[in-house]
Amino acid sequence: MSKATDISKINEHSPYYDMTPGNQIYGGGGSRKFCTGEWRTKTPVIDWEKCTQCLLCTPVCPDSCIPVKDGKREDFDLDHCKGCGICERVCSFGAITMKEGI
């Protein structure tokens, strides 16, 4: 039975023998452990009062940062949101605003 790679043990300080053979990685979605949220200079903020749960903001996020559960969007995944502002622009209800800073 194959085991998922513990990628927390593979970094620029780990010796060669701790690396996976052929740089293969077992298990998906490990990039979640990498916080691209640090790239952000503007942060989306949602006004739940104005949000109609139309979900038009969800598919346009390049960073999969607008999680949907049971047909309703949840708050932004700010660990990964790069602050591109596409969601703000597609929202017809003015529910999302881009705030300066992180």
Partner: protein
């Protein structure tokens, strides 16, 4: 199956965040929508030509892909997936595996229109049961915005720079969807990002679940290379469709189908104006270039209408 936006949006995300694509990238918007079209329970192996998407989505040891994934080189994504898909049939036949798998490859226009065209053509002609998805951003963005054969006419790129003696790329873009359609494969479609992504989602689902080879060409704007205001990506895509620069069509078993015909076709300037790469076209002395551009868009649109027997 009727398109239910809320249900579709509730499907699990198959491209994890934490990849290193640019803020506002169109490429990953395309990838997310295509992958969402996979039915739950179906597994997939994703192939990827070298390009922005590849170097950003599997940077050792972080993979953004929830599914099995293989990057091989720049020009051989079609061939690599051919091998994986064939192995699937071989192992299934021998009873070594039982799960259902789908095979999807992503390549930029560099890896698809240009360096990878031979490998793509081979994979399509052999009719492997796979989908090749080109996220077409119209230049080699990964290496710094050099022209490709998908680059539109007059675009300012780093190898077709606008200068005293140059108005950018002098040639028209290659019509790849039509080239692949002429491989006589079961399904070819062209799409981009519109509204709820219904068009792209449905085409992705058809492409994935049509037995045999399928090809999707998805215009995926690159804010850096196209130089538009990053949040405006959906507006740019809409203009591309409304000006008939990027028509939405399908070729199903050789039959051409037009999916959308604008009620009032917008002038091509509307699509070009917001993009810095076409800025020079709006100098007064270049008015003739815009006329030329419009003629080319019209010619291609007429041709498409003819293909679709309109």
């Amino acid at each position: 199956m009727a398109f239910n936006f809320k249900e579709v949006m509730s499907k699990p995300e198959r491209l994890a965040p934490g990849h290193r694509m640019c803020a506002g990238c169109g490429g990953t918007i395309a990838v997310r929508t295509v992958l969402r079209a996979l039915h739950e329970g179906d597994k997939a192996v994703i192939g990827n030509a070298t390009g922005c998407l590849e170097v950003s989505s599997f940077m050792y040891p972080y993979t953004a892909w929830e599914d099995s994934y293989m990057h091989n080189a720049f020009e051989n994504a079609g061939a690599t997936l051919s091998g994986i898909e064939t192995a699937y049939h071989a192992l299934k036949k021998k009873g070594k595996i039982s799960a259902n798998y789908k095979f999807i490859t992503f390549g930029g226009d560099g890896g698809t229109y240009d360096i990878g065209l031979q490998s793509l053509s081979g994979a399509m002609e052999r009719n492997h049961d796979m989908v090749y998805v080109c996220y077409d951003n119209g230049a080699y963005m990964n290496t710094g915005i050099q022209r490709s054969s998908a680059t539109p006419m007059f675009a300012d790129t780093t190898t077709t720079p606008v200068g005293k003696c140059s108005n950018g790329k002098m040639q028209n873009r290659k019509d790849l969807a039509s080239i692949i359609a002429n491989h006589d494969i079961p399904y070819v479609a062209q799409s981009t990002f519109i509204g709820t992504m219904k068009d792209l989602y449905e085409k992705s689902e058809k492409a994935i679940y049509t037995p045999g080879a399928a090809f999707l060409n998805i215009m995926s704007p690159c804010p850096r290379g196209w130089r538009y205001d990053t949040p405006d990506i959906m507006k740019i895509c809409k203009l591309a469709v409304e000006t008939c620069y990027w028509p939405l069509f399908e070729v199903v078993e050789g039959k051409w189908i037009l999916n959308y015909e604008p009620k009032k076709k917008l002038p091509i300037e509307d699509f070009l104006r917001p993009q810095g790469r076409f800025k020079h076209l709006f100098k007064p002395e270049n008015e003739n270039l815009l006329v030329q551009y419009q003629e080319e868009v019209d010619r291609r649109w007429e041709n498409l209408l003819y293909m679709c027997s309109k």
